[in-house]
Amino acid sequence: MTISRRGFITGAVVGSLGLAGAARAGSGVHLFEGHPGRKGLLHDTTLCVGCRSCEFACNEVNKLPVPKAPINDKAIFSARRGINDKLYTVVNKYAEGGGRRPPVYRKHQCMHCNEPCCASVCFVKAFVKTPEGPVLYDPDLCVGCRYCLFACPYYALAYEYNEPLAPKVVRCTMCYPRIKEGKNPACADACPTGAIVYGKRGDLVRMARDRIRKFPGRYFDHIFGEHEYGGTSWLTVSGLAPGRLDLPENIVHEPLPNLTTGFLTLAPLVTAIIPGLLAGFYAFTKRRDHLHEEALRRELARFARERADEVEKALSAARAQAARDLERAVERGRRTGRLEAVREAAEAAKPEPPKEGGAR
C-alpha cells in the first residue's frame, strides 16, 4: 500500500482526507508484528522480594528525588501506591505471605505497548514506538491535553500537575538513553534477585513459557503482556492471576487504538456524503416551497378572476337597472310635466362607481 504524492498533499490540505489516510495506515497494522529484535523486560513476581531497589535505581537514573520510605521499609505496602511524576515505577504488595508462600509483589510502570494507545490518541504525535522497544515522548510537542493519561489502560503515565505553564507527561522510558549506550535499564541492573530480566522480547516470552512449563505449581499459566491489547514490552509472570495483581484481565488481543480508528474512518465518509445529502434536502425544501408558492399564486389569480367576473356582472346589472330607472323617470316626468322631477330622478339613478380597493 503506497500513498501517492498527490494523495499525500491532498491529505495534508484537507484534514478529513488526512484522517482517511490515517485510517488506512491504522487498518494496516494487523500485518505488522512489531519491530524484530525489539527489547523488553520480564518481571517474575515469584522472584520479587519487594525490596524496591528498582524504585531507587529508577529515581536515581531519572534524576528524581530519592523515595522517602527507606529501602526494605515494608510499612509502605500497607496502602496501594500508583506511579506519579516523582515515581515512574512502583512496587506494590498483592498477597500476604503465609506458610511456605512468600508475599507477592509486582512492579508497575509504563508497559511500552507494541501498539501504544498513548501514541495513537496523541493529536500531535508526541509519542513514538521506537524499533528498540521503548515508547518515547517528546515534551517539545506536547500540548498538555492528557488524552494519553486518560487512554492508557495501565495507568502508567503521570503528569506534572504542579507545573503551571509548562507541564510534561512523565513516565518510564525503559531507560532509552542507557539502552542506546548498550546498558541495561537501571531497574534490571538494580534487581538483586533477578526478578527483572532485560532482553529481546521474543526471548523473554520463550523464557517465561519455559518457566511456566517447568514449574506449573509456581505459576499461573499466563504471560501478562504477551497478547494484551496487542502485547507489551514489559511482561509479567506470577503465581496469581493478572486480575489479582491489579492488571486488566480477560482483555482482547486486539490493539486498543483499533477501537477508535474504526470509528474515525467514518469521518471522511461523512464529509463525502452529508453535504450532498443536505443539499438534496435543501433542494427538496426549496422545490416544495416553490411549488407551494406557485399553487398559491394560481389560486389567487383564479380567485381574482372570479371576483372580477362577479363585479363585472353586478356592474352591468346595475347599469341596466339605472337605464331602466332613468327611462321610467323620464316617462313619469313627461306624464306629470315637471322637468325638475325628471332631473332629480336622473340624478338618483346614476350608477355608483365601483369602490376603490375592491377585487381587481
Binding site: 500508583g82 500540548v143 474515525l264
Partner: protein
C-alpha cells in the same frame, strides 16, 4: 413574522441591578481562581489525579458542546427543512451555540497544560489517528462557521449592506457545513471514550457511544431552543419579535421535535443494553444510577414532551426541556466522572475540588452575561428594521 419590532436604544438599566451585582461577584471570584490555576498549576486548583486526568472541567466541555447544539438544530430546521416559522429563534439559538463553544474553548485553555500550543496539531505535526485531532479540527472550523453565521448581525450594526448581503447569501452553505461538522465532532467527543473500554462502567461504554453523543446533542439542542425562547420572552419580552401566543406555538412545535429526539435517543440506549446483554448490570448501585438517568431524564421527558404537545401545554414543554437539559448534563458527567474509573477504590477516585466548581460557575455566568450584553445591543431578537427579513 413582523419586521417592525422597535429598535429601542440599548437601555442598560441600573448598573447595580441584582443580576449585575451577583454576576460581578461570581466573575470576580472565578477570575481569581483562574489566575491561581495559572500561577500555581492544576495541582492547586483541581483534584485531578494521574489516574483520573480529566475531571469536572472536561465533563463540562462535553456539556457545553452538547448544549451548543441549539445552533445547528435550529439552522437545519429553518434553512434546510424550510420550517420558516422558527426563524425568530435562529439568531438566539446560534448566538447561544457560539457562546457554548466559546465557553468550551475557555475551559479548554484553563485545562490544557500548554494552551499556547493549541495550533501545534495543525502547524507542527498532526496526529490524525487521534479523535482529539478531529475534534480540534471540527470545533475550530465550526466555531469559525458560527462566527460567520453571526456576522450579518455585526454588519447590520455597522450598516455594511453589501457585506451583510454576501453573508446572508451564504446562510445555507454555512448551515450545511455546520451540520456536517457538528455531526462529526459531537459524535467524536463520544469517541474519546472508545479507547477506555476497561475504565467506563459497561452501561455507559459502548462501541456506539459516538452515536449516543450525537443523539443526545440533538436532545440538548432542541431543549436549549425551548429554554432560549423562554428566556427571551421573560427577560426581553418587549424586544422579542414574536408575540407570546406565537412563541407558545413554536414551543409546542419544539416539544414535538423534542419528543421525537428523546424517544430516538432512548431507543438507541435501550438497544445498546440489549445488544450487549447488559441487563444484569442494572442491578447495581451504578446500574440504578443509570436507570435514574435513562428513565428519569430521557424516557420521562419523552412522555412529558409528547403529552405537552398533545395537550398544547407550552409550560409543561418548558419544564420538560429543563429536564432534558439536566439529562444531557447528567449523561456527560456520568460517563466522564461517575462511571469513569469505577474499578478504582473510593479513596483513589476523583472528586472535584471547590475551585473546579467555581470555575464552571464562573464560565456559565460569563456566558450568560455576554449573551445578555449582545442581545441588548444587537438585532438578535428581531429583524433589523433597515433590512428585509433575512430568510
Amino acid at each position: 413574522m413582523n419586521g417592525h419590532a422597535p429598535v429601542t436604544p440599548a437601555d442598560r438599566g441600573p448598573l447595580l441591578s441584582p443580576f449585575n451585582v451577583a454576576a460581578g461577584l461570581l466573575l470576580a471570584i472565578g477570575g481569581l481562581v483562574v489566575l491561581l490555576r495559572f500561577y500555581f498549576g492544576l495541582a492547586f486548583a483541581t483534584n485531578l489525579t494521574h489516574a483520573t486526568t480529566w475531571g469536572l472541567w472536561t465533563g463540562f466541555k462535553l456539556v457545553f458542546v452538547a448544549l451548543a447544539a441549539s445552533g445547528y438544530a435550529l439552522t437545519t430546521a429553518v434553512y434546510i427543512f424550510g420550517m420558516h416559522e422558527y426563524h425568530p429563534l435562529v439568531r438566539p439559538a446560534v448566538l447561544s451555540g457560539f457562546m457554548g463553544y466559546s465557553l468550551f474553548i475557555l475551559i479548554l485553555i484553563f485545562d490544557l497544560g500548554r494552551a499556547y500550543r493549541l495550533p501545534y496539531p495543525f502547524i507542527i505535526q498532526p496526529g490524525v489517528t487521534s479523535a482529539l485531532f478531529e475534534i480540534a479540527l471540527c470545533v475550530g472550523l465550526y466555531y469559525t462557521t458560527q462566527f460567520l453565521e453571526l456576522t450579518p448581525v455585526g454588519f447590520e450594526w455597522v450598516k455594511w449592506r453589501r457585506w451583510r448581503k454576501a453573508a446572508v447569501a451564504a446562510t445555507v452553505g454555512f448551515t450545511i457545513f455546520g451540520l456536517m461538522l457538528s455531526m462529526l465532532h459531537q459524535a467524536t467527543l463520544g469517541a474519546l471514550f472508545l479507547t477506555v473500554p476497561e475504565k467506563v462502567y459497561p452501561l455507559w461504554y459502548s462501541p456506539y457511544v459516538p452515536l449516543h453523543f450525537f443523539m443526545s446533542s440533538c436532545v440538548g439542542g432542541i431543549a436549549m431552543c425551548v429554554m432560549l425562547g423562554l428566556a427571551c420572552k421573560k427577560i426581553w419580552g418587549e424586544r422579542f419579535a414574536i408575540s407570546d401566543e406565537k412563541l407558545d406555538e413554536l414551543t409546542i412545535g419544539l416539544g414535538k421535535a423534542g419528543a421525537i429526539a428523546t424517544l430516538v435517543y432512548f431507543l438507541v440506549k435501550v438497544v445498546d443494553v440489549a445488544l450487549h446483554n447488559y441487563w444484569h448490570y442494572l442491578a447495581s448501585p451504578l446500574g440504578l444510577w443509570y436507570l435514574v438517568e435513562i428513565l428519569g431524564f430521557v424516557l420521562l421527558p419523552t412522555l412529558l414532551y409528547a403529552y405537552g404537545y398533545r395537550e398544547r401545554r407550552p409550560g409543561l414543554i418548558r419544564f420538560t426541556a429543563g429536564m432534558a437539559i439536566l439529562g444531557v448534563i447528567l449523561n456527560r458527567l456520568n460517563i466522564s466522572i461517575v462511571a469513569f474509573n469505577y474499578k478504582l477504590p473510593l479513596a483513589e477516585r476523583y472528586f472535584p475540588s471547590w475551585m473546579e466548581y467555581v470555575v464552571v460557575i464562573f464560565l456559565i455566568t460569563l456566558g450568560v452575561t455576554i449573551y445578555r450584553g449582545v442581545v441588548k445591543r444587537f438585532a438578535i431578537l428581531y429583524d433589523h428594521p433597515d433590512y428585509e427579513a433575512h430568510h
